[in-house]
Amino acid sequence: MSDDDRTEPTPAAYDPQGRPFLGYHPDDGVAVYGPRPTPLHDEHVALGATVTGFAGWAMPLRYGSDVAEHRAVRTAAGLFDLSHMGEIRVRGAGAGRALDRALVGSLSTLAVGRARYTMACWPDGGVADDLIVYRTGDEDFLVVANSANAEVMLGQLHERCAASDVEVLDETTTTALVAVQGPAAAGILAGLVGDDAERDAVVGLRNYASATATLTTEAGPVPALVARTGYTGEDGFELFVAVEHAVALWRGLLAAGEPAGLVPAGLAARDTLRLEAGMPLYGHELTRFVTPYDAGLGRVVRLDKTDDDGAPLDFVGREALAQRAEREPERVLVGLEVQGRRAARQGYAVTTPDGVPVGEVTSGAPSPTLGRPVAMAYVTPGASAEGTELAVDVRGRAEPVRVVPLPFYRRS
């Protein structure tokens, strides 16, 4: 048999996670896949973005200066591609109740057109993911999961809703998610909504409310679910559209926003914006080893949920969380203001000024708005009072820090 007769198995164009086939590894000949591009990948490349792998996706880290992108969001507007987020549809009779059992929050009491920040926990009370759940119909919910947790959440929702008569559908690959964030966001978006009633509805949306609207773009009309949600500490909107409309929407928003100072913004700016706003990020402040109470988010756990007969409703993690709610915390999530210039970053040890360990930094960076480094950290309760002087071991040198209230930044 000659070499020419040898048949190589044809690799799949995409692996089971949807990541594209890139080629064969030169050492062992194994097919190499991934990171998967978002529907806006070519737009990012054309805009000169630095693209980075994030949770299996190829994402724009920054287009130029991440600090300039951060400031644009604080003073004008920024445009984010969030198509890596997981969108999971839960629908059918009893969908609200099914989510009441699957998640720690009360979703059956959510009004149609409203959204809620909530979490899924494991039976031991550890956080599986933090989520935003949109009620888009009486029996229709959209669960938005962190990209790193999207597959786990899809599996968990299937499992946790199996006893109910509801469908759990992964819409991640068919949905594009774009966010317009900043004080100019509402004006920019209003200019793209042609219908007067829809425009009034969009501009009048309360926080954590959503509406459907058709946006007028050069490439044609784009139907969107528009929600007044975000992750930057600014006013802003998140727009869910079908993937085939992603480019039209992106270009339409960029063109409409440019006169108002809107710029495309990458994951680097998104991270410093949410840090200044004191918002937790899964993998940093939230992990399967902390409970919502540890993160100061015990309010999302609704131990008072009841079923139709008024009896306490069981949900995944209830027993462990009920016990945890009664106990004094072992650790507290705090804000730290760094006195010097060197940033305290994730994983760095927090100590007393004398060097006694009291905790660990979960997120930290130089704050573009404050002009000095800020951090979030888990510390022992005794070290958590506002004004407590502590230190962070920044690569072998103790940097003085002070416990300050969260958030670091609040829009005026």
């Binding site: 630095t50 880290l61 920054r62 200066s65 991440d66 600090v67 300039a68 951060h70 680097a268 991270d271 410093t272 210039r341 060197r342 940033a343 970053r345 960076a365 130089p366 573009p368 690569r395």
Partner: protein, 122 residues
């Protein structure tokens, strides 16, 4: 890396050296771009001794922090205060206004030609 100045020498840790007495030291555009906009530089003081291949400072962006390795052995005779005040100079003009240190060099250091450095980062 078509924009690598041909009159400079380089290190594998992404520093550049401009010949002279003293030599001028900075970081490459490749390194500056990889870090993102720099917001803080920690550099040695005038009079400090630096050793080739040893850490002599830190450069920090919002997203990450990186050590600066001295490409040469000698004594620091000047620090770019303008870049310390406005680290984004390192991003906007890494081979010019964004230089970091001037060093009185003792002896020779093993440095890379532009071609050798380009081969590392391409």
């Amino acid at each position: 890396m078509s924009d690598l100045p041909s009159d400079l020498k380089y290190t594998a840790e992404h520093e550049w050296v401009r010949a002279g007495e003293p030599v001028t030291v900075g970081i490459t555009a490749h390194a500056a771009e990889a870090l993102g906009e720099l917001v803080y530089l920690e550099l040695p003081a005038v009079g400090d001794a630096v050793t080739a291949g040893q850490v002599c400072g830190e450069i920090e962006s919002t997203k990450s922090v990186s050590e600066v390795f001295s490409p040469v052995t000698g004594t620091v005779v000047e620090v770019n205060d303008a870049a310390v005040d406005d680290p984004s100079l390192v991003n906007s003009d890494p081979y010019g206004a964004g230089w970091l240190l001037r060093v009185d060099v003792e002896g020779d250091a093993a440095l890379l030609s532009p071609e050798e450095y380009a081969a590392l980062v391409d």
